[in-house]
Subunit: 416 residues, 2 copies
């Protein structure tokens, strides 16, 4: 393995042992110091960012991507604000989740501790650098960051500023480390550093996440895409359905918890679909229908089977009509990405059935799928939304960046 990576790994392990036992006041003071430093040294950061932006323009990067790369004074203040918000959150570390006495008199407790070293792989969004550091640091973890090559100068400067702030408080500057190499081979090796890295979190496009899952031997927390459904039950309040669908589809289109597909019971199709279509027309949403739905509104477009698997992230929605709640559940479980699903119903048993049988991170009765979010769930911060089942499922806050260890108090017990 690359010498530089080994060095980063050793540094991170050393740093995490110090971080794991820091008092929350020390951690909060450091978050304040790093937030202040980012604002105070905004000019330096903007200058480094200008280099990246210039190079990106030369390389023909699209204006949308350049906008994500660009740092302004306001955006840097936003990064600092993100760190400040973490201060108000309780320390996730040290809580003893349970403590029980065994027949043999041992007291066995389960204590929340940091994961250790967290690797974060992301694209050319330099704001993630400060954000990821803050979440890892507050939860007592050291982080090793691998950002997009196009943001390398911005990231180097942001990391330098944070390291300086940590040093000024006599804290281990290797609490945050950046892989400065832009060699893809190095990134591949980074994904196999099981000896030093406890978990990898890829943040970004579906392709980035897929590559990380495929290449990595280090455990990965997968944050994924959302092909989210709203099911309009035969016992739905149709006005409520219209309102929720309008919100879930159009309130913000480019996000994983937006609704991409409707499932409508045939008994209410003729009543519900025209009302839904009329409301969605306000935002010019294109509606792609199955055969039954087309019979109700022949002026709409036809859906293909592929549509039912598609996360549009756009002003498009598909419609599937069903004969029963069972068919609705079967359709959703087959086509969804296990993210967020909602039923609109006034029927008690159907609500329960949907909650029980839908396989997803978040299952809603009579509410918009857009609520699947760490802030909305009251976590105060979010590192992403997990669509895998291991370790964390759904919005991940600070607690999801921790693990546990058993602490056992004995009085000389031996095993018989």
């Amino acid at each position: 393995m690359d010498e530089m990576l080994i060095k980063l790994g050793e540094n991170a392990v050393k740093a995490e042992r110090e971080l794991a036992i820091l008092n929350v006041t020390v951690k909060n003071d450091a978050l304040k110091a790093t937030a202040d430093a980012l604002v105070n040294r905004a000019d330096e950061i903007i200058k480094a960012n200008e280099e990246d932006v210039e190079n990106a323009k030369k390389n023909g990067m699209s204006s949308a991507l350049i906008d994500r790369l660009l740092l302004t004074k306001e955006r840097i203040e936003g990064m600092a604000e993100g760190l400040m918000q973490l201060i108000s959150l309780p320390d996730p570390i040290g809580e003893v989740l349970s403590m029980k006495k065994t027949a043999g008199g041992l007291m066995i407790g389960k204590k929340r501790v940091p994961l250790g070293v967290i690797g974060i792989i992301y694209e050319a969004r330099p704001n993630v650098t400060a954000d990821a550091f803050g979440l890892c640091f507050k939860s007592g973890n050291a982080c090793i960051l691998k950002g997009g090559s196009d943001a390398i100068n911005s990231n180097k400067k942001i990391v330098e500023v944070i390291k300086d702030a940590l040093k000024s408080l006599n804290l281990n500057e290797n609490s945050i480390q950046l892989i400065e190499s832009t060699d893809r081979e190095i990134t591949k090796q980074f994904m196999k550093m099981n000896k030093y890295v406890d978990v990898l979190i890829p943040r970004g496009s579906a392709r980035l996440i897929k590559t990380t899952v495929e290449e990595s031997t280090v455990p990965v927390i997968e944050t994924g895409s959302g092909n989210c459904h709203v099911y309009v039950d035969e016992f739905a309040d149709i006005d409520m359905a219209v309102n929720i669908i309008y919100n879930a589809k159009t309130q913000r289109i480019g996000v994983c918890n937006a609704c991409e597909s409707l499932v409508i019971h045939k008994k209410v199709l003729a009543e519900a679909l025209p009302k839904i279509a009329a409301k969605l027309k306000e935002k010019n949403v294109e509606i792609r229908c199955d055969e039954e739905a087309l019979k109700v509104m022949p002026e709409l477009k036809a859906a293909t089977e592929e549509d039912f698997y598609t996360e549009y992230l756009d002003y498009i929605i598909s419609v599937k009509s069903v004969d029963s709640i069972e068919e609705a559940i079967e359709h959703i479980n087959t086509h969804n990405t296990k993210h967020s699903e909602a039923i609109i119903t006034k029927d008690y048993s159907n609500a329960n059935k949907f909650l029980n049988e839908i396989d997803a991170a978040a299952v809603y009765v009579n509410a918009s799928t857009r609520f699947t979010d760490g802030f909305e769930f009251g976590f105060g911060a979010e590192i992403g939304i997990s669509t895998q089942k291991l370790h964390a499922r759904g919005p991940m806050g600070l607690n999801e960046l921790t693990t546990s260890k058993y602490i056992i108090y004995g009085e000389g017990q031996v095993r018989k």
Copy 2:
């Protein structure tokens, strides 16, 4: 991907949807029926096993491995007994771990649900087949098993018996499926079935686990080796230390929670080491010492640096002497496998320091490391002991074969 594997995957997903919503009484009845069937059809199983044993002998398998492969009437009764024990355990599924109301009036609950489809890869120990099925089934998961090729006839028969018992109760027989192919390429493909398999658990040798971690794209729960330490503090009760060390080293030597290395404070080295050595001599334990310890007992063997990294699983133990508890913690955190570690001390602060700063799944004060075990911890069953930090750490019982989903009760809420 291989057609047969895809079929197994599809079957498993279908089965797990049925399993996820089974009532606990139905699950318990099925466990009883499978246990009875194993005993009633023991002759068939033994006959199939005889084929495997004959082949193994022809292939020159060692007698120790043949013993692990061999099934007798008693051993089959033991398998059935294991299934019966699961009946008395509470259903891990369906519990709502928390339920909170948001400012917007949503009720957000976190509900325990099965992982889904669990893949188990193991060696030629046919008892694991029934054991793994029972744990997965009680926790509402479908399992796909890949056992060692040498046990293929035994496994086929055991799976047939279990499937028949499930069918007799009109339950989905694909709750348990066996990969019958002994082609290694198939096993490799099995490790990449992310679309169908939620988690892989390798059970067996360090090599099997390493291969699974390296080859798999499906999330893996790693159960690992244990290089466990007992630290004799300067404030230790020496008699207690002797007793605990004797237990931790010799009560059972071939297990991951056995003690492999001692760390002794130099202030008590001259008093403690001879007493420990005298007691360990009862079992002819070989003691390998660092320089300081050798000065106390020159008749013992010298340890190399490699000794301090070695999990002997034998009547051998290493001794490292230290100047301080800090040095002890540093030594252990550097050399351990994050399994189980113990301090023997009468000092309050040193006990706390050790509990806080040692990085391991289980950290003990004044007790034997041998207690790290699902049964000893009161879980009633165990699928293994996780030495990784993601999802589960330490002994894994039924709860560790579950995940959660958020269930959200609304009254028409949309996001602002």
